[in-house]
Subunit: 262 residues, 2 copies
Amino acid sequence: METLTIIKVGGNVIDNERELSTFLHLFSALKTPKLLVHGGGKIATELSKKLGIHPVLVEGRRMTDAETLKVVTMVYAGLINKSIVAQLQALHTNAIGICGADGNCIPATKRENKGIDYGFAGDIEYNKINALFLQQLLNNQYTPVVAPITHDGKGQLLNTNADTIASSLAKALSKLYKIQLLYCFEKPGVLSNANDENSVIQKINKKLFEQLKQEGVISGGMIPKLDNAFDALNAGVESVLIGEAKQLLQTNTHAGTKITLS
Amino acid sequence: METLTIIKVGGNVIDNERELSTFLHLFSALKTPKLLVHGGGKIATELSKKLGIHPVLVEGRRMTDAETLKVVTMVYAGLINKSIVAQLQALHTNAIGICGADGNCIPATKRENKGIDYGFAGDIEYNKINALFLQQLLNNQYTPVVAPITHDGKGQLLNTNADTIASSLAKALSKLYKIQLLYCFEKPGVLSNANDENSVIQKINKKLFEQLKQEGVISGGMIPKLDNAFDALNAGVESVLIGEAKQLLQTNTHAGTKITLS
């Protein structure tokens, strides 16, 4: 099977013009077929503020009401997505920017209100992803750039976590490609000491993950990130790396934290 | 050659939820391969106002400064484009929403400042359009939905008139398809009496066009629309109809104004 590199890049890179440009140069230089999933960053929050839409937080997550959905659709699927595509075109990477509604590639379900209303938030079942559509684009030498917006198949767009989109696409495409999944975030990897950037844990398997959770070394937002990673490996994804965008793309296997099953 | 129907739908339909839904039902029911080009409507103007961006008009056209470009990219390529795609998916039309940067399908040039600065406005050379990309999508049964944003190939997005995008795509694709180009606007066709909706001129050829211009029957914004139409026919487009969306799609050949060379 051919290798496909799926990269999720987060707000810390998107928000900084120079960081984004450096990242896109490195991404563009990757020789394998590749797919980019991007998050949102601060632009949506800033636009919401300017429009007088006050974010409603539910257990630390932003509730996607109808007005917020409009804002994230504009910012993620419009401004950020098309800016990245135009920049990649300038680097001779023939990118095509899509969201989950395009080509019906990521069908989702509006999250049920079980006492907590997340609004227009979409949950993905990865076995419903239209992998054929993405394969057709890749076969024709296009590089998909995916915005974190999905749809319910009944005409409703939905806001969906970009990390989850990346791991769901990785799982769905692992039947067709040998998938390298790279989660880029603001730190050089999973740290054994949150205050020491030199304390990157080079490799974490399931057993070590359980141990590090018990010891409190891994906590908070890193837990779902790693759960996602193990999920992807269990579903057939070849490798998962977590770390800082520049380091992962420049040196690939020697940087970041490698997540392995055993 | 296979028939491809290219439809340009304007702000009057986009701005009205019910009109848009009716239009998309009719569009979805079209049996031939099809491609939709959409305009902007009032949403961009309203968002600009809310953000305190005051439109600068240059000879009646909005000047696209950097902030306005962000707004139209968000609204056209984000909100409107993805809402249309999600609604078409619900109607079982497998749509894919793109702008001219995606797949490098509509390369453009920033309009030169010859004393008048139009800002980030893009002019298209139709022979540079990536018709192969659109053909690949159509061959795979996808329906392209095109937002009126192009790019210069150097990383810059550009704002481009949707009428021009429609006729440019029609011209570029006329080498591969028998093109039916439908320009939908707020009137039932070209009227011989601007105040009488029953005065639709059924057929206009080049000679009648010159005569009607001299008589002042055709004036203002209708002139570039018809220039565009004759341009398209000269370049090999099979047929051009101008009229009201619902009428053109419901009855096709018996409604609107048919533009012919002779």
